[in-house]
Symmetry: C2
Subunit: 265 residues, 2 copies
């Protein structure tokens, strides 16, 4: 297997082909940077309605970019030549809430009643922030965005329920205002922030101790700004402990053919 060079992976199709060939098995951050990346949740049809309803009821943390036909691994809307069984770098297979495998191909797990959900990702709006000259701390530091469970409950649907999970980006005042404007233009990838300024108001006790991702410093002249996060549906699925669920491995997203800019409203 040849080691693929990141710089050769500039189109979404190139990333997917490299994953399909088993060549790229790492995180996708920074690959094909013009294209929207997505969180993946695959569920048997028996659980699909409740999960779809959960996403519908909680659109800010669960913005659906695409939902496949039952049994089809092809996301017709977001990447019609892709195969969700092979085109991600790495997957996680969970049975009754337990991680049982972390393969680079899920063809052997595939069942004719699987429904795949592609959920928008903050990478897309971060591209918009960077384009506008707004510094994004965790990108500057080369670490993962800090994420927090909040005391805000999602609207439940069937077996799926749980807290809203948020990501946090510290911003100076003028950048916070501009970031609200820009991310409001991206409703399909979490949209506007859900909170700013008072972490304790949403149940965050220590801004330096995220529940997921890495801590980043908040300077005295900065405001912590919180966006709904795609970890929310992942956490709701995990908490529901369905018989079988397959997700992307953390950071190893599905790269769609949708240009980030095409998601700007």
């Amino acid at each position: 297997m040849s080691v693929q060079n990141r710089s050769s992976l500039v189109s979404a199709q190139q990333v997917r082909e490299s994953c399909r060939a088993g060549e790229w098995t790492n995180q996708t951050s920074g690959l094909a940077p013009s294209f929207a990346q997505a969180n993946l949740v695959i569920l048997p049809q028996a659980d699909a309605f409740d999960f779809l309803l959960f996403c519908k009821r909680n659109p800010k943390p669960c913005p659906l970019l695409d939902v496949t036909e039952a049994g089809s691994p092809v996301p017709n809307k977001s990447a019609p030549d892709a195969d969700l069984r092979t085109d991600l770098p790495r997957y996680r297979v969970w049975r009754h809430g337990q991680l049982v495998d972390e393969p680079t191909d899920i063809s052997s797990y595939w069942k004719p009643d699987f429904v795949s959900f592609l959920i928008g990702c903050s990478f897309s709006f971060e591209a918009g922030l960077l384009q506008a000259g707004i510094p994004v701390r965790h990108i500057e530091l080369g670490c993962n965005v800090p994420m927090f469970r909040t005391n805000v409950a999602c609207q439940p649907a069937g077996k799926f329920h749980g807290p809203l999970v948020v990501s946090m980006r510290p911003l100076k005042s003028a950048d916070a205002i501009r970031a609200i404007q820009i991310t409001s233009q991206f409703p399909d990838v979490h949209g506007a922030p859900v909170h700013l300024g008072f972490p304790e108001q949403i149940g965050i006790q220590d801004i330096n101790k995220p529940d997921f991702g890495d801590p980043v410093p908040v300077a005295p002249d900065e405001i912590p700004v919180f966006w709904a996060c795609g970890v929310t549906p992942q956490a709701a699925v995990m908490a529901a402990k369905p018989e079988l669920v397959i997700t992307h491995s953390p950071g190893c997203m599905f790269v769609t053919d949708l240009l980030n800019e095409s998601l700007r409203r």
Copy 2:
């Protein structure tokens, strides 16, 4: 002269006719609430270019809704049947920076080289905030909005220069985010805030001591949000001490035929 009842003044034309008849000589807040109200600055043509350039260079505090032809008292774009010499409740006449008269009609002062500037007013975006269920503190309290001189200098133009003046509205986090979205849709009436969260960063020493208007309380769970204010151009004109300038009397605005909602982008 009959005392006009506020409730009969629901259209812009009704307000203007009542002013023209000398019947309404009070503040216009709450009158014809669907219609955009405007700050008025009238200058001789010799000063008009510099002032127009000042507005152009400082669009957030000085959003121009209309500029008349020299000598014409008719704002063709915003109220083609109006007469700016008679249709405001009360005016202020300034010579070399000194207030010399506060008439309800400026026909006797009119000169063939006068240029009138109508500058958008926050009443318009406050209507949008209230419609969206966002409480506006100074409206709740029935007082004037607190306004502050900042340490941010406007871009000068000719004789016109001065600090950015801002208005402040305290808002809860979610309302602040929504207010940024809503006011971003009203670029012709000051648009998005210029600052939030840290008054001292823009040179405001005491949030309880506004330079103009009335103080309003900021609760511990609220963020002070600052918008560019139409007092900015007024202050720049006063500081320039032109030979002659006529403005509206504070709070006695010109009521245009433009619906507030027509200003939403």
